[in-house]
């Protein structure tokens, strides 16, 4: 097992810069997700770590070893590819044994490792089949099995569940979490699915346009997004973001004018903001329908999902928000409603999109820092 350090990593394909100065510390034994929209550079970053792409600039260290210039095979890293990349002409057994045989491992040890991995992944009865005789889920298991047999220091998984159907994805997600707990090895997981990242990870690295937008524990990203990008990306439906202006501010709160209303938002101590234009963020499930609410608007669309309603509301002062209410709430389309923004649940972002530190209640604070896994964010 080993920690991984990425320092000042730049990667360009010709004139196109894909990764722009990535600095990361992935702790030993952690399950880390690279999360971001398509084209943010998460797969390229993974491939750089794997040694499948040369770095334009920067360094990668695994433990004490500088692996920047090492070929893939000598990095002690195994990778599970998005499309499995099983060798089609080999049986499952040979697929899993291929890397070990190439490295000259004795036959008995190869057999032992293959049997162990097959048992772990419940594919022992498939060992003599070819990949084309397997279902998607089985192929995925074989791909993971091929990685396990090598007993690497680091696992890289490039959107491994994206080709599976929804129910199988949920099953495999749980199996991956169990596998990580059992092996205790560092795993890096690339996904654009925030549910996968939030449920599996000890640590999530959110990437935006080739830069790290934020690194943190899943709930930390949710409750303390560092900037507008993370605030908008994490959480579904998206956080409501409304333009506001600063009326006054002190060290531990800030008063904003918003659609004619005045709101005082507590902060955990912030530097004074120079420009008055800021953005107020409030998650849809925190927005409340109340007769004495700060904002008023008209419901454009009411989506009734059973346990909850998603109300899309056009605000009187311009703009729109989404509000989640209990499934029994009677609100309908074209109803006029008033909305209350609980100050403790609001997020404030300065003119450059950076979040002001939020003051959290002790229970939420404990939830963020509590972890069952040995992760320690850098």
């Amino acid at each position: 097992m080993a920690e991984l350090r990425v320092t000042g990593l730049w990667k360009a394909f010709g004139a196109v810069e894909v990764l722009k100065g990535i600095d990361l510390h992935l702790p030993d034994g952690a399950f880390v997700s690279f999360l971001g929209p398509s084209g943010c550079g998460k797969s390229t970053l993974l491939r750089c770590i794997a040694g499948l792409e040369d770095l334009t600039e920067g360094a990668i260290h695994m433990g004490d070893r500088d692996i920047t210039q090492l070929p893939s095979a000598r990095r002690d890293i195994a990778m599970v590819f998005q499309n499995y990349a099983l060798y089609p002409h080999m049986t499952v057994r040979k697929n899993m044994a291929f890397g070990l045989a190439l490295n000259g491992m004795p036959r008995a040890e190869i057999d032992r490792r293959v049997a162990l991995a097959a048992e772990t992944l419940r594919i022992a009865d498939l060992l003599d089949r070819k990949p084309r005789q397997l279902s998607g889920g089985q192929r995925q298991r074989v791909a993971i099995g091929r990685a396990i047999t090598r007993q690497p220091q680091l696992f890289l998984l490039d959107e491994p569940l994206s080709n599976l159907d929804a129910s199988l994805r949920v099953t495999m997600r749980a199996e991956l979490a169990a596998l990580h707990d059992r092996l205790g090895v560092t795993m890096v997981y690339v996904t654009h699915d925030q549910v996968e990242a939030m449920t599996l990870s000890d640590l999530v690295v959110v990437l935006d346009k080739g830069r790290v937008a934020q690194v943190g524990r899943p709930l930390e990203l949710f409750h303390r997004p560092a900037n507008l990008f993370v605030a908008g990306f994490i959480g579904s439906p998206q956080m409501n973001l409304l333009p506001a202006s600063v009326i006054r501010q002190s060290a531990d709160d800030i008063t904003l004018a918003l659609h004619g209303a005045t709101l005082t938002i507590p902060t955990a101590g912030h530097d004074p903001i120079a420009a008055p234009a800021v953005t107020l963020g409030i998650r849809p499930d925190r927005l409340e329908i109340a007769p004495d609410g700060d904002l008023s608007g008209t419901i454009r669309l009411a989506e009734r999902l059973g346990t909850e309603n998603h109300l899309h509301i056009d605000l009187e002062g311009g703009g729109s928000v989404t509000c989640i209410t209990d499934g029994t709430h009677p609100a309908r389309a074209r109803d006029r409603v008033r909305l209350r923004i609980p100050p403790a649940d609001a997020h404030v972002f300065d003119g450059r999109g950076n979040a002001l530190p939020r003051r959290l209640d002790p229970a939420t604070q404990a939830l963020i820092t509590d972890t069952n896994r040995p992760a320690d964010p850098a």
Partner: protein, 270 residues
Amino acid sequence: MARTFTYGALIFLSALFVAPFLWTLLTAVKTEAELVAWPPVFWPEDWRWENFATSWAEQPFGTYLQNSMTVVVLSTIGQVFSSSLVAFGFARFRFPGRDPIFVLLLATMMIPWDVKMIPLYMEFNFLGWINTLKPLIVPAWFGEAFFIFLLRQYIMTVPMEIDEAARMDGANPWQLYWRIHLPLMLPGLVLVGTFHFMNAWNDYLGPLIFLNDQTKYTLPLGLGLFQGRHDVDNIAIAAITVILCLPPLVLFFFVQRYIMDNALGSSVKG
């Protein structure tokens, strides 16, 4: 109705292709009188199977067969190996000038054999290879543009992730070629092998130019000996032609499964 038409068309076309071979076979077992009879005799009255043995014995066809087999086997191995290796290089390595070199390679397909004949003779003469089988074998070990193109396209259908997975497993470029791509392009190799086998087996002009000594002759040259200036032994020509057709037919019978088969199967998602 459409089905009947399709089958009718297929039967007609099959008959069109089979007819010359059938006529040759029937000629091979006719007597001299039946051969020159007018109106022509289609079905021989007395099937002279001994014509095959007699014709075979008229020339040292055992030696010719041995020479042909040497040329065909060695050059086919060389062709399959070298073309696939070069194709792998063009398909999977990035190096300066790769694409212009590939275009140059393809351009060589436009040079007709007739143009290359004399320079090749001079070259092999310089090397002292005239009247040996080397000019018929060695060039095949340097690849053939069409086959390289064919196999390159084949390799390019294999997802790059398979190469990357093998690289991460510790495979070097040679192991990648030998253990991953060579088995994966088996249908392509069979196709190349079959095409080259047929070309080499039927080649008349090459051996005619480079071989002088009758002990070095290949089967097509031996067959040509039946066509003298004043006399043509049509029955012997037909008999030996039928024999010559058998190996390619047998080969095709066994390999057509590989040509049709898609070895890639479903190695990746889907």
